[in-house]
Structures are given as C-alpha cells and as structure tokens.
Amino acid sequence: MRQERLSLVLSVGLLAGLAVVPLVTAANTVLNFLVFAMILALAAHGWNLLAGYAGQFSFGHAAFFGVGAYGGALLQMRAGINPWVAFLGGIMLAGIVGAVIGALSFRADLRGSYFSLVTLAFAEVLRILVNATPATGGAAGLLIPLDVRFANFQFASRAAFYWIALALVALVTLLMLVIENTRFGAYLTAIRENEDAARALGVDVFAEKIKAMTLSAAITGAAGGLYAQYFLYLDANIGFGPWISIEALVAPIIGGLGTAAGPLVGALALQMLGEMSKTVAGRIPGIDLVLFGLLLVLVIAFMRRGVVGQLQRLAMARGGA
C-alpha cells in the first residue's frame, strides 16, 4: 500500500473512532486526555509540514503556538473581538510571524542545524518579551474570563469542545493529504531531498519554503488558540516554553515523519505513553519524559518513518506474500 493510501485509511479510521468516544463515555478524564491529544496533534501537524515534508527542522515551534494562543486571547480580551473571530485572528498572526521568521532565516540561507538553532532563539526571544511586557499580562499571564456560552467559544460540555478540536485535526489531515498530491507537495519533497538540485530544476526554493513555514506556523498557531480557549489561562512558559516545541516534534517523528497520519498517531501514542508511565512509575516527575526521549532515540535508530512507516512495511510484506 502506498503511504498516502495508508495515511488516508489510518486517519479516517482513527478520526471516526475518536468521534464516537463522547457517545460512549462522558468521563472527563478521557475527554480531557483526548482534547489535549488533539491540541498536540494539531501542533504536530504544523511542525510535520515544515520538517517532515520540506525537511526544515524547527526547534522553535513554540513561537507559533504562543502567538496563536496569545494573539487570540489578546484580540478577545483587549480588543473585545468575538472569541471565534479572535481565534482565526490568532491563527493569521501566527502565520505572519512564521512568514517573517521564515523570510529572515531562509534569506540568510540558514539550513540544517543553523535553522534549528535560529528558530529556537526566536521562540526564546518571544518568551522573554512576553514575560516582560505588561500588555500581554507579563509574568502574571493571561486569564480569559470564565463565561460559558457557545458564542464565547466556551462550552458547558467537554464533548463539544472535543468535537471542534477533532474537526480541526480532521481538516488539517485532509489538507496534508491534498498537499501530498499537489505540485506544492512535490516541490517540498524535492527541497527536502536535495535543495540545490530542486533549485537547479527551477523550483523557487525560497518562495516554497516561506509558504510551507507560513502554513506550518498557522496550523501550530491554531493549536495554541485551542489551548487558550480550553484552559483559559496562559503564561509565557505555557505559550512559548520549550515543552511545546519538543512535543510538536516528538509526536510526528514517533507517528511517522512526513506522513499525513503521523502527527495524530504520534500525539495519541505520546499521550497514552505519558499516562501509562504515570501509572507504572507513579507520580515521579519526569519519568514520562525520560520515556519520550528514549522513544525518540529508538525510533530514529530503528524505524525512521515511525509507526506509519512500520505499518506500511508490514502491509507491503503481506501484499508481497
């Protein structure tokens, strides 16, 4: 089975399965777990577009997550814009920030480790600035007032919020499957495999990378916006801290780098792994992350295309037999 087919089947199956969960259980722990997994999957999709498809490994996707989260929250609280509109505004802001950071770094022809480092630094600069700026709530953070109304992007039932998050993940997965079959997707793959060769073939590498970065940032920004609306509290470490840069990167790698199903598979796997490690190791802080790190190393060493890649290999073996 081709990777795209497998991704499509996997994604549809998973999303359908996930959609019925609230009908089966109303347990808040389950829904809470899944909402968080969806936010993570969304952030991971953003990172995967840039790194998995275009080969640009950002270590600072927190920048976009934070801009999406803070952008939406500030538009809503300071400018009085409707939260739904503000959410979209946050996504756009994240896209713009992505385009600017992309333009600066790609103009300077930063590749590989250099690109990773500069994105990390941008995220840290934003974190320090937001922490020090009174307009963003400074160190005290932002508390979005509790006001449960549909028009306010706040719901009495967790299931409603969960379905919205799930729908967004479905939408982005679809977008990725579409991109894989467009010229844009082909250009990104060409850039990932060999940037200079792609340029020699007439691909406008700079423009395509900026496009990928903008879209990637917007998607991760959407994850930030969702986070803000769900938890109603933000501070600089939540929005711009290294934790989200890392989770957005570990999830697709475990799920399957450069595949449309990878981010969702990886986000669910990571979340489950985190819960399991807590159950097994008790409440020792850090144990779950030790496992994440180990898994990251193992996946890179032994299964380069993560869970999806492994499934594909199995499917091919069976097809060949």
Binding site: A139, L143, F231
Partner: protein, 305 residues
C-alpha cells in the same frame, strides 16, 4: 477528578497553578481550599467554590510594610533607603511593583529595582549595584537558588546592608538555607507564612518532622491546617454534597489550626484572619520576631556590622 466522585480539593503552592485549577474546579462547583497561593486573583474572580486559608499578596505586602516601618521606628529610624531585587516572574515582578508604590508612602526612598531571570547564571552584577548604591535595606523576592546565590555573593563582596528584609522569599525562611549557609543566612528577615510558635501542636509537628531528618517549611503547617479546616467543614456539613460542604466552609469559624491567625472567617473566599509574620534567622534557628504577640525572639536590627 470530577468523575471520580471527589468532594473537595485542598491544594495550591504555585499561584499560576491555582489560578487554572480553581477555575477548572469552579465549573463543577467543587469546593477548593487553597493553602499557599498568594496571587490576589485567586479570590478576586468571584469563584464561589474557592476558599483561601492563607493570606493573599495584598495582605502580606501591607503587613510587611507595616512591620518594617514599626521595626525601623523601634530602632530609632536608622534606615531610610531601600533597594529591591526580584525575579522577573509572576511573583517577583508583582511584588516589586507593589513595594515600589508603597515604600515611598512610608518614608523610604527606593534607590533602584533590579529584576533578574530564573535561573540566573550570575548575581555578581546585582551585588555590585547594591554595593554602588549602598542601600540601608535590601528587599529580595527571588526563588531559592537565586536568593542563595545573591546572599552568598553579597557575603563574598562584603556587602552588609542594615537589614535584608525579604517578603515571601523562597529561601529566607527555609531551614536548608540556614543549615547549609549559616553565615550568609544570619539575621536575614522574612515576612512570610509561618506557624504560631506558641502553639504546642505546631511545635510537636515540627519536632516529629525534624526527627525524621526532614526540613521544616511553612507549607507543612499551612497544608496541615487547611486539611483540618476542610475536615471540620465536612463534619459540620455532615454530607458529601458539594453545595453543603461549600456552605460549611463559607461559615467556618475553625480555630484549631497551627497558624497565628485566630478563628477562620471567610469573606468572598478569603480568610480575613490570615496574616503573615516576620521571621529572622538567628543562630541556627528561624525565630518569629514580629508581631510581638506571636514572637519567640527579639529582632536584631540594624544587623551588627
């Protein structure tokens, strides 16, 4: 937790966590007793489920300023100038802003305010600036690591203000600091949560803990008291119904706690009796020095050079 039949929550510690968790609990009308968690926003949002046993930020700073003024007056007003050092997060930055506004009203001149990040790699520059400005009193609000670093660097650079007067400091009323760096810790004052040293139950708890080789911290009597408070409310409510427990908490007059507070009385979720006290490191102990009715030692001020 909602689905697991929880009736009430006691917790807190980090203000940012409190802000988020109390709001989450409010969705389910889950009674929430905050033990330590000083941000005033915790009880200022009109959440009916949230009760804070300990004093809030406003109360603590107010008391801290009052006490400082009184201590200074009692010593014949040797101190006129102050410098503030604070970590640049929620707690330090907020505190510094308040103190900057309050201190001039009480006749102190604020010479400078120096923020620093957590973790900070170096405190020498801050020490140098303190040395340059030579304030009478230094008010640090930092977490443990940075304050210890600052106190050690000051000792190193032989900088001796008339007092180091901390407010809600992570280290100044921490026995680990006193034990590991007795010289740097000597005579450091703190306005913070502390147990009532005259209550036998509190001292007994402290002894039993120290017998296990653990350091005594103010969180322990706070948390212990908050649990007692909730137990009392549960008894009086005689029910696990959340609304009844909430009501019992709201009308609580609980007095058998370990803190220097008097009977509990919640107004808008804040225990109005709650107040901080002043402590000072003297020898290898942390003594309560102010207010007089709770104190077990006399204040040493100005610090002998």
């Amino acid at each position: 937790m909602q689905s697991e039949g929880v009736v009430a929550i006691v917790g807190g510690y980090a203000s940012a966590i409190c802000l988020a968790t109390t709001q989450a609990a409010a969705r389910y009308d889950l009674p929430y007793v905050v033990d330590v968690g000083v941000t005033d926003a915790i009880v200022n949002r009109g959440l009916k489920n949230t009760f804070r046993f300990g004093p809030g930020f406003g109360t603590v700073t107010q008391q801290a300023m009052d006490n400082l003024t009184k201590i200074n007056e009692a010593a014949g007003k040797p101190a006129k100038t102050v410098m503030l050092v604070h970590e640049d997060g929620l707690f330090g930055a907020g505190l510094a802003k308040l103190l900057q506004a309050e201190l001039p009203k009480r006749g102190f001149e604020v010479l400078d305010t120096l923020p620093h990040p957590t973790p900070a790699r170096d405190m020498t520059n801050i020490a140098l600036q303190i040395k340059a400005k030579n304030p009478d009193i230094l008010i640090p609000s930092s977490y443990y690591g940075e304050f210890v670093l600052l106190a050690r660097t000051m000792q190193q650079q032989k900088i001796k203000p008339k007092a180091i007067y901390a407010v809600l400091n992570g280290a100044a009323s921490n026995f680990r600091f006193v034990k590991e760096f007795p010289e740097a810790a000597q005579f450091v004052m703190d306005c913070n949560h502390w147990h009532d040293p005259r209550k036998p139950a509190a001292e007994a708890l402290r002894k039993s803990l120290e017998a296990q080789g653990k350091f005594w911290t103010y969180n322990i009597p706070m948390n212990y008291s908050a649990v007692l408070l909730l137990a009392d409310a549960l008894e009086r409510a005689a029910s696990t119904d959340r609304a009844k427990v909430t009501e019992a908490l709201a009308s609580s007059t609980f007095a058998d706690h370990l803190m220097p507070y008097g009977p509990t009385k919640f107004v808008n979720g804040q225990n109005t009796g709650a107040a901080p006290v002043n402590t000072q490191v003297q020898g290898s102990d942390i003594k309560v020095i102010f207010p007089a009715e709770f104190s077990n030692a006399k204040v040493v001020f100005p610090v002998p050079a």
